[in-house]
């Protein structure tokens, strides 16, 4: 297979500027990750530890195999929201007794590990990842249950906000946990503390439950609720203690002496599952790229208007920098070709400019070929959208863009997307956007994701307003228009940032560009837990 030639001038001014900008963004990301690790803060951590308890990440570290990698998902969820960074929940993919597993751990130092809208979204995504990739699921629960706190304050504001989700729509997680079991995907709970009310079903619906003496408390209603409901006086040990569940109710399958013992037992259960992955990979030699991943920081910069050749990124991500390019001379704004990452064969689709009819057709054909050969697809996004203009509309850009989106939507090989820079409009969809059943979506910290660029949006809206004024015979207020445009640009600039998107769990996490190869390797290995099989048929391609 051909090896990419990719030489960059590391002394060039642009390279240095890019690098400085990227390092700044990475430092910002690292600062936020540190906040996420700090959980509920020093006081809460001290109190938690004083009870002889391990922190959420410490529990995970003990659960996973020594020296194995752990990919934390959406670690910055909650950023730019009212919720703390991390959302009081740690999710990720780790190796437990040799089995790649989706792990979920409540962080009880953050509002007692209570479930909020935010960590509910994070949890739903973790369950989805377990389901679509056929990954066993282990939850390390210690949660106060639903977040019942209500700020005494602006009731009207609260009403507006709570429109987001009604109670009647909640509970899907219980459905999803038991669905995993029905699909033959093992589920396991270690109960580290209270698991009350709805929370009780979380372990209750698991295949295996490990409880810890004097620690686990699992009941539908705790003593106060029981008192309110039936007038009965009861203690929490008899209502839901581990020993009671292990010997009387039978809810607990394994009774552990302490947290360490519980984790040890969970690892043993996993070891006995006789788990076999259904994917075929890895099948290729997994040598590192020939070029230093560190150079990615100088190749791509925070200024998205500056173009870069996506091949320079590919050369620093794929095994041995080997890349067999498909149709290199046709539809040149899109790069397609075959490579492998950590030994897993992939088809790569990367942007080198705006999408035209020819590049869309090329993508459509390439996606079909990947399905023909059961090869997962990696999308490397840096896309401002599909080309607009008379020539292109008349040339059928809508038809060709539709073909591409049709192919992406109906393709059944796993898709993994990394947003390297711009991700605008339908370009996001055609290039494996989050909403298109993409198995994993990661983004670099410089990425921007929006329906269109902030300036374009402000300009478009201004033109529309101008037209409305003209139609109504109103005088157009230029000054007011300038003010609105500036506001729109400012707001959209902020909302298009990857920092904003990842705070909303709009992706699976922001990554350091230098980690791209590792993250893709882990994602590919995860998708190979399930069968990797191409689609037999697609939607009707409009010709």
């Amino acid at each position: 297979m051909a090896v990419l030639a990719s030489h960059v001038d590391t002394r060039a001014e642009r390279y240095q500027a890019n690098r400085a900008g990227m390092l700044g963004l990475i430092a910002e990301m690292d600062g936020l990750l540190e906040q996420a690790r700090a959980g509920g803060g020093e006081r809460a951590i001290t109190r938690h530890r004083s009870r002889g308890k391990l922190l959420a990440r410490e529990r995970i570290e003990l659960l996973i195999d020594r020296d194995s990698p752990f990919l934390e998902l959406s670690p910055l969820a909650g950023y730019y929201t009212e919720f703390p960074i991390g959302g009081g929940l740690v999710t990720g993919i780790g190796v437990v007794s040799g089995v790649e597993t989706v792990i979920l751990a409540n962080d009880p130092t953050v509002i007692g590990g209570a479930m909020t809208q935010l960590n509910g979204k994070k949890l739903d995504r973790a369950l989805e990842i377990a389901r679509v990739n056929r990954l066993p699921y282990v939850q390390l629960t210690e949660s106060a249950g639903a977040d019942l706190r209500r700020e005494p304050g602006d009731y009207e504001d609260e009403l507006r906000r709570s429109i987001a989700q009604h109670f009647a729509e909640s509970g899907r997680l219980f459905h999803d946990i038991t669905q995993l079991s029905a699909l033959g995907i093992p589920t396991m709970s270690i109960v580290f503390g209270s698991s009350t009310a709805g929370g009780a079903y979380q372990p209750g619906l698991s295949d295996y439950i490990v409880m810890i003496k004097e620690r686990s408390k699992v009941f539908l209603g705790g003593p106060p609720l029981v008192k309110m409901a039936t007038g009965e006086d009861s203690g929490d040990e008899e209502l839901g203690g581990a020993e009671m569940h292990a010997s009387v109710s039978g809810l607990a399958d394994y009774l552990a002496e302490d947290e360490m013992d519980a984790i040890r037992q969970a690892r043993e259960v996993m070891a006995h599952l006789n788990w076999r992955k259904h994917g075929y990979g890895p099948t290729q030699p997994a040598g590192p790229p020939l070029y230093d991943a560190d150079e990615l920081l100088g190749i791509v910069g925070p200024d998205l208007k500056v173009p870069f050749d996506v091949r320079d990124v590919i050369a620093r991500v794929v095994d041995g920098s080997r890349f067999e390019e498909f149709k290199p001379r046709y539809g040149r704004t899109l790069v397609t070709g075959w490579a492998s990452i950590h030994g897993f064969p992939v088809g790569i689709i990367g942007n080198n400019g705006v999408l035209f009819s020819d590049s869309s057709q090329k993508a459509t054909q390439f996606i079909q070929l990947c399905n023909q050969h059961d090869v997962p697809i990696v999308f490397l996004q840096n896309i401002t959208g599909y080309m607009v203009g008379k020539e292109y509309e008349q040339g059928g850009i809508v038809k060709d863009g539709s073909k591409m989106i049709n192919a992406v939507s109906n393709s059944t090989v796993p898709h993994i997307t990394v947003i390297l820079g711009a991700s605008y409009g339908a370009g996001n969809y055609g290039m494996g956007g989050k909403a298109f059943d993409t198995r994993f979506v990661f983004a670099w910290p410089n990425a921007k994701i929006a329906v269109m660029g902030p300036a374009q949006m402000a300009g478009v809206m201004s033109i529309v307003r101008r037209g409305q004024a003209r139609a109504a015979g109103r005088e157009f207020d230029e000054e007011e228009d300038q003010r609105i445009q500036a506001l729109v640009i400012e707001r959209n600039e902020k909302e298009s940032l990857e920092f904003y998107a990842t705070g909303r769990v709009a992706d699976d996490g922001m990554i350091d560009p230098r980690d791209t190869r590792t993250v893709l390797g882990m994602a590919l290995s995860a998708v190979h837990s399930n069968e990797v099989k191409g689609a037999g048929r697609f939607g009707v391609f409009r010709m």
């Binding site: 020594r66 040799g98 360490m260 997994a286």
Partner: protein
């Protein structure tokens, strides 16, 4: 000339290998014989053929003349070399070999017989004019008073020695009358079991003397020469452990006199092969005949080093009838040679022999020394035979250089997981007393030498980091998934990997995190550091800790990590990642497994109970269930009585255990 085409070695271990080596050089086919514990030993494999003698003990095997001769017949051997020890000084064996029409590679049987009886030998040597210490034979029927009289005549301290043997067995030093009777009795017992002969005699024990022996060589043409002396003063349990040639205490003039005395002794008995005349040299320079060994000595290599001769080759040549290949006046001493005997034994516990498995035996390529070893990686040291692992011989221009070179070679030898005298030997070789030539037979008692090597904190740090990272490589290499992904990779790093060991200095915790390349951030015992690793072949890690590099060999065996950095061999025991679960019943309560009736109660409060002891019998579902103790302790209470009906889960017996 007699032809020798196939030679059987009636011995084992390193000496068998040593003789085979020369045989191969001389184009002679070889036959080994072996006892069952030696079935996989290198000497068996290296022989052209090997014959199983059947049995495990010396008496059943290497001392059984009939079996040895049968082996020679079976394989068509035409010569027998006895090695040292076992039957090497058994005139009866030599005669039997000759009677069977085979060539005996050793002196003629009469010479062996003459020197075999230590007291008779003394008489012969006295007649030849060799200086002598008084020796008194002890009749088994002697009264205690007679015994004490004899000892008084010899004068204390006296040495009780076996008439029929050597190698320090059946030998006791007695400093005053009180200990004599017991010493004689135990010497007789040991002599009987070692040599089949309980005859012992008394001899004056010279304090502060040196053990000097002269290598002699005779041929069948009446020629006898000496190959200078060896000094073998450093002994433990009356067994030599460091030998050298020449002796630092022997002047050319003394050498000539001792050599002449030894040659005279050999000539007196018509000696016609390799032999050794042993003397004691007192502090005033006077020497006394001790005994003559009518065989090749363990320590012959030091003589080979300084003379350039192959003594086994000479033995075979003279046995065939050739004259000596050298003449006395052409022999010169070339430099200095020192040999140590590496033993599986515990110097810290009175050099007590140990048995065990040789997990690895890896000799350094440098410095260049001679390794005459009986073991190799994978060998077992059995309880049946002498636990000598190897002889290591250094040859250099000067005594100092030979000693230091030998010490370095020993230090660089990798032999993990087995207790040996290596560190003690190194300490002696590097000690001021040894380097000053202050070597006497009481050296080990007189010179305080550290019996083991104390590990410095830095040694332990290197060892623990190497073991931790080797474990890390091992786990990554065995990972069923994501093997090529970075070790312990995290996109949100929160903790170091942790591993704890029990080591020589107590518990040591190692924490590490992969940095870029083959580098790790490490914390050893909480102390931060930077570590770079260069992975080499065969379990060797180049560990660079804060800019200091050591090559550490790491061997993983169960929970144990054996490390060797060319300076010190350490064993660290990895602590389990998860402490084991408490055993059932450990919390004291024994519950009824199901509802039933108590048939009988076998303990009462206050009783001490052991593991497995019957506590109570319960009848349920028409079956008798025996409730037994799962952890020793004391019965605190028995809340039930015989005949009582109990619910499932009811507490039957409460036992308090120690520490709970």
């Amino acid at each position: 000339m007699t032809r020798i085409t196939r030679l059987l070695v009636a011995n084992r271990g390193e000496i068998a290998r040593r003789i085979f080596r020369t045989c191969r050089e001389m184009g002679i086919d070889t036959v080994a014989v072996y006892a069952e514990p030696d079935a996989n030993a290198p000497f068996v494999r290296e022989a052209g053929q090997a014959v199983a003698l059947g049995g495990s003990t010396s008496v059943e095997t290497y001392l059984d003349i009939a079996k040895l001769l049968a082996a020679a017949r079976r394989t068509g051997a035409d010569a027998v070399h006895p090695g040292y020890g076992f039957l090497s000084e058994d005139a009866g064996f030599a005669r039997a070999v000759i009677d069977a029409g085979l060539t005996w590679v050793g002196p003629h049987p009469e010479a062996i017989a003459a020197m075999g009886d230590k007291l008779a030998a003394k008489r012969i040597m006295a007649e030849a004019g060799v200086p002598m210490l008084i020796g008194v034979a002890l009749d088994p029927d002697m009264t205690e008073a007679e015994l004490l009289d004899h000892a008084a005549a010899v004068a204390y301290p006296v040495l009780v020695k076996a008439s029929g043997g050597g190698g320090g067995r059946g030998m006791r030093i007695v400093r005053e009358a009180g200990g004599l009777k017991a010493a004689v009795a135990s010497a007789r017992r040991e002599a009987k079991s070692a040599f089949g002969n309980d005859a012992v005699f008394l001899e004056r024990y010279l304090e502060g003397s040196r053990h000097i022996e002269v290598q002699v060589f005779g041929d069948k043409h009446g020629d006898v020469a000496h190959l200078f002396e060896r000094e073998c003063s450093i002994q433990r349990r009356h067994q030599k452990i460091i030998e050298e040639a020449p002796s630092s205490a022997v002047s050319p003039e003394l050498r000539e006199r001792m050599g002449a005395a030894a040659v005279a002794a050999a000539q007196r008995i018509g000696y016609d092969n390799a032999g050794t005349v042993e003397f004691l040299l007192d502090s005033a320079g006077a020497f006394f005949f001790l005994e003559m060994n009518t065989r090749l000595q363990v320590e012959h290599p030091v003589t080979e080093s300084i003379t350039g001769l192959d003594l086994v080759r000479e033995q075979i040549r003279v046995a065939k009838g050739h004259p000596l290949s050298f003449s006395q006046d052409k022999l010169r001493i070339d430099g200095h040679s020192i040999e140590v005997r590496l033993y599986a034994e515990n110097p810290a516990k009175e050099f007590f022999p140990v048995a065990g498995h040789v997990l690895a035996f890896e000799r350094p390529s440098e410095p260049a020394v001679r390794w005459d070893s009986g073991v190799e990686t994978g060998s077992d040291v059995s309880v049946f035979f002498d636990p000598m692992l190897a002889k290591v011989i250094a040859h250099a221009r000067t005594r100092d250089e030979a000693a230091l070179k030998l010490a370095l070679a020993l230090e660089r030898l990798r032999i993990p997981g087995l207790v040996t005298n290596r560190d003690f030997l190194v300490n002696v070789l590097r000690g001021d007393a040894f380097l000053a030539g202050d070597t006497t037979t009481d050296f080990i008692d007189r010179i305080a030498t550290a019996r083991t090597k104390e590990a410095a904190p830095e040694d332990i740090r290197f060892a623990a980091v190497a073991a931790a990272l080797a474990g890390q490589y091992e786990r990554r290499g065995a990972a069923p998934v994501l093997q090529t992904v970075g070790s312990g990779w995290r996109n949100n790093p929160s903790a170091y990997q942790k591993v704890s060991f029990d080591g020589p200095g107590g518990v040591i915790d190692i924490e590490y995190r992969a940095a870029s390349g083959e580098a790790f951030e490490v914390r050893a015992g909480g102390e931060p550091g930077h570590c770079r690793v260069v992975r080499c072949d065969a379990g060797v890690l180049g560990i660079e800790l804060d800019r200091v590099r050591r090559s550490v060999s790491v061997l993983h065996d169960g929970d144990n990590w054996h490390t060797h950095d060319g300076r010190i061999e350490l064993t660290l025991t990895e602590r389990p990642r998860f402490p084991g679960p408490r055993t059932a019943g450990g919390d004291g309560g024994y519950e009824a497994p199901m509802p039933g009736k108590v048939v009988s109660v076998h303990v009462a409060p206050g009783d001490a109970v052991k593991d497995g002891q019957l506590l109570l019998v319960l009848e349920a579902m028409k079956m008798e269930h025996h409730i037994t103790c799962s952890r020793a302790g004391t019965v605190a209470s028995v809340p039930v009585a015989a005949g009582q009906q109990v619910q499932g889960g009811a507490i039957l017996v409460v036992i308090t255990t120690e520490g709970s």
